[in-house]
């Protein structure tokens, strides 16, 4: 009997330790509960309309799941929350299979408006000069909206099935998706919304980022034999570095003047000057097939990685420092975490 009691108390002790993790599912307090932290988008199961969002504070001490449904009468975001962009007090959430953009207050996640016009399986979003630019894979178009009144302005035809979109002060850059036959970055001028040129690459498109300071755009292309990182300045490719050792590179992330990407279950880092292709990893996460790095970002020198758990279970987020030390790990309480956005 003593043994039983001992083991029960041990279990209780372990349980109470693990509950230090601080997962708050209740309604948070304060005017701007989700400021000073990172928003995690959970896309949900395709055709299940169970997308939701989670929050973790910058110091990793406060974590909330289901923040969208908490703020909106238990409703979900929709079917496959693909990506998110902030503008003023708002967040625009691109919901791929619902064919909508949900506009929410970025600090409370309460619904404000919904954009539906001209959307056709929307993927990624960028806001520039008070305009929203969205890539649409079914219509192969970038659709453009007024970011203040959400009115549709115009659309731009694309040559390839699009995925990522970024903007600098002169152009919008649209990268083809990784399955597209054309491996291109299409450049659209901001002034007149004209598709000016297509920059063609040898390997499949797998990531796009912009350095806001220089206006340079970085594109990752790769296949199972090779990876390349390209620097695009204006309308030309100004530099390319490549590797045969690090293959199938994906994601393009800029944080604190460093460029990051992943390959398999490893994170790599190089300088924005692209002096060389980095072949030494910064850190590794647990391997889990396609679910590995289903979401990835580096924010303020912390690496955010998401494991989608095969989409049969709630996703798990792991946060590391740049030495590879695990700082925090938690379940997002929802399916398929796919992106991290600094709020």
């Amino acid at each position: 009997m003593k043994k039983v009691l001992l083991s029960i108390s041990l279990v209780a002790l372990l349980y109470s330790c693990s509950s230090d993790d601080n997962v708050n599912t209740g309604i948070p307090t304060g005017d701007k509960p989700y400021s000073n932290g990172v928003i995690i988008l959970n896309e949900g199961n395709f055709q299940s309309s169970n997308a939701n969002a989670s929050y973790i504070s910058n110091d990793l001490s406060v974590q909330h799941n289901s923040i969208f449904s908490t703020a909106n009468n238990s409703e979900f975001i929709g079917d496959v929350a693909q990506s998110l962009a902030f503008y003023k007090d708002f967040a625009f959430i691109v919901v791929n299979n619902s064919n909508t953009i949900e506009v929410v207050n970025r600090y409370t996640f309460q619904k404000v408006a919904q954009i539906t016009q001209e959307l056709s399986l929307p993927r990624r979003i960028v806001v520039k000069n008070s305009k929203i630019y969205v890539t649409n894979s079914a219509s192969k178009k970038v659709t453009i909206y007024n970011a203040d009144n959400y009115q549709f302005i115009t659309s731009v035809e694309l040559d390839a099935d699009p995925e990522y979109i970024v903007a600098n002060n002169n152009y919008v850059y649209v990268q083809s998706n990784s399955y597209a036959s054309q491996k291109v970055v299409e450049v659209i001028s901001l002034s007149d919304n004209v598709n000016v040129t297509d920059l063609t690459f040898e390997y499949a498109s797998n990531g796009l980022a912009v350095d806001n300071a220089s206006g340079n755009v970085y594109a990752v292309t790769s296949d199972a034999t090779k990876s390349e990182i390209h620097m695009i300045s204006g309308l030309t490719v100004s530099k390319t570095v490549s590797s045969n050792a690090v293959t199938s590179a994906r994601y393009a992330v800029i944080d604190n003047n460093n460029f990051y990407f992943v390959s398999a279950n490893n994170v790599y880092k190089t300088s924005l000057q692209l002096t060389s292709f980095p072949e030494t990893k910064v850190l590794s996460v647990e391997e889990n097939g396609f679910s590995t790095f289903y979401g990835f970002n580096v924010i303020d020198n912390k690496v955010y990685s998401a494991d989608a758990k095969g989409f049969t279970d709630n996703g798990v987020v792991s946060i590391y420092d740049l030495n590879g030390a695990l700082l925090k790990q938690f379940s997002t309480g929802a399916i398929g975490p796919n992106g991290f956005y600094k709020n």
Binding site: T25, N45, Q47, S48, S49, N50, S66, F76, G78, D79, V95, N97, S98, N99, T100, T116, L119, S120, L121, A138, S178, A224, S248, A264, G289, F290, S291, T292, A308, K309, G310, F311, T312, D313, N314, G333, A334, I335
Partner: protein, 614 residues
Amino acid sequence: MNKKWSVSLLFSILACHIYAQENNQHTELEELIITDDKLRTHNLSQTIRKINDTVVKTSNGSLTDLLLFNSSIYFKENGFGMVSSPSFRGTTAQQTSVVWNGLRINSLLLGQTDFNSISYKEYNDISIKPGGGSVLYGSGAIGGTIHLNNELKFSNHFDNELQLTYGSYNTYRVNYNLSAGNDKWSTQININRNQSDNDFDIEKQKRKNLNGQYWNNSINTSIGYRINRTHDIRFFSHIYDDERHFSLISANQIKTKYQNQSARNLLQWKATTQKINSIVRLAYINENYRYFDYLPSDRHSGGEVNSNIIKYDLDYKLTEKIVVSLLMDYQHNKGKGNGSGFAQAQQEILSSGLLLKHTLSTKSGYELGIKKEFTKAYENPLLYSAGFYISPIENYTIKLNGSKNYRIPTFNDIYWEPGGNKNLKPESSYQADLSQEINWKNWQFSANVYAIFIDDMIRWLPTNEGYWQASNTNKVTVKGVELFSAYRLHFGSHHINVQGTYAYTDSRDNETEKQLIYVPFHKITGSIQYRYKNLSLQLQGLMNGKVYTTTSNDENSAIDPYTLFNTQLSYRFGKKNEQMFAFEIKNASDKMYENTLNRPMPGRNYTIQYILKF
């Protein structure tokens, strides 16, 4: 196996068959016969429950709706009328087999039957058999089998029946049945049409169900001809055609629709003598679909499978009490894709089996079966079954059954590019089943206890290469209890019929020890029918327990339990031509519920039905 082989096989079967000479004049001729004759003669150690004819006749809606309230099977519907996947005894949709006149008809592309895309009003015998049955019914008979049989009636008759139904959401149904025959001929023709706008209110989202409209047609023909006392020929043909728009999960979603067609033809030649029962079956089955993913454009993908099947059964009475049976089955399947995962693929499957049935006394007996498959498409399993039944006291029967069963990989599992896996093994299962039945006066009671151990479950998992691949992964253990009870009472002109089922299903992944997703621990169904002279009132109820939608059984994303009620009032009249009016209220308590995450189901709705016999 090459063509020559199959041709010589066919000839040897025919030679055997014709040899069954007309040497006996004593064979009893039954008036009502079903073609899957082994269903009731060779499954004595398992429970088989036939759904009451009246229930089938007055039932409105799909086969899902019929089984939902009359069996322990759980259905996962992608919204009302949409794709409907069963979970029988805690197993997957591919582990429930639908058997049409003795032939397995689960889709060869998907491995399952969609219970909202199949007609059922034309069958005179719809039976449910829980438990394994792969020796007799092949792939997928793991959780259980649903049998759809046409009865042939060999007596002088000429009967017409017309059923007309109209209900909420502009739902129409028309069924016409013709049954005619004499002692030589029997013919049955059925024509069915169902359609619905399916635009029920979704209160939670303050909108109607959008893009959920559907229609389906089917024509069914059964012909039987008795050449003489030894030989008879039967032909069954079934043509089905439907179109379903897929209900939107959110209002601005891109609209899609799905079209399904199937054709099944079965020709059977049976020779019966005192010692021998010899049956040759030739069948041709076609299934094809088209999926329109970007309406209103015509863009679509599709797929098709054609199957040619030769089956031969030979039953030989060794003694009055021992019957041995030889089973041979050759199947050639050819698949074609259009803008889908494979362009063309084909497979040949040959199987042969042996059955032994030994009747020890009027109260007990045992049955044994073994079957081996030969194919290049996947690793070939050896299947077997053994069963024993005994009535130690009057009105009480104990049945014990154990078997090894399997589910073969589907065309998509093997050939889809990318992700199809040519090295897949079939899913296999061992199971044991103990059932007890009491039939006492007006009271019927049965209790089944079972365990199923499933290995090599086929699942599509994400790979490093960015696509999903079919692989043999989990092991699952299912333990469960099924209870069934029925009670009949009549005094004067009052008739009362009470019936209920309860199922407890514990179906866990061996690794995580968590309940499988979309398997409720508890399901209860019940019905009470009260008939007074020509007036009949029926109340049906269903309690479905909580189901999890994540493998870790996260409570937050679990689907809440729900209780549903249907009620039906009917009135029969007409002497020369019997007629009936029925009024039904479904979901009478207007319960908002889902059986699949975020796929709301209709609230309270109404149906009027008129039946005319002439």
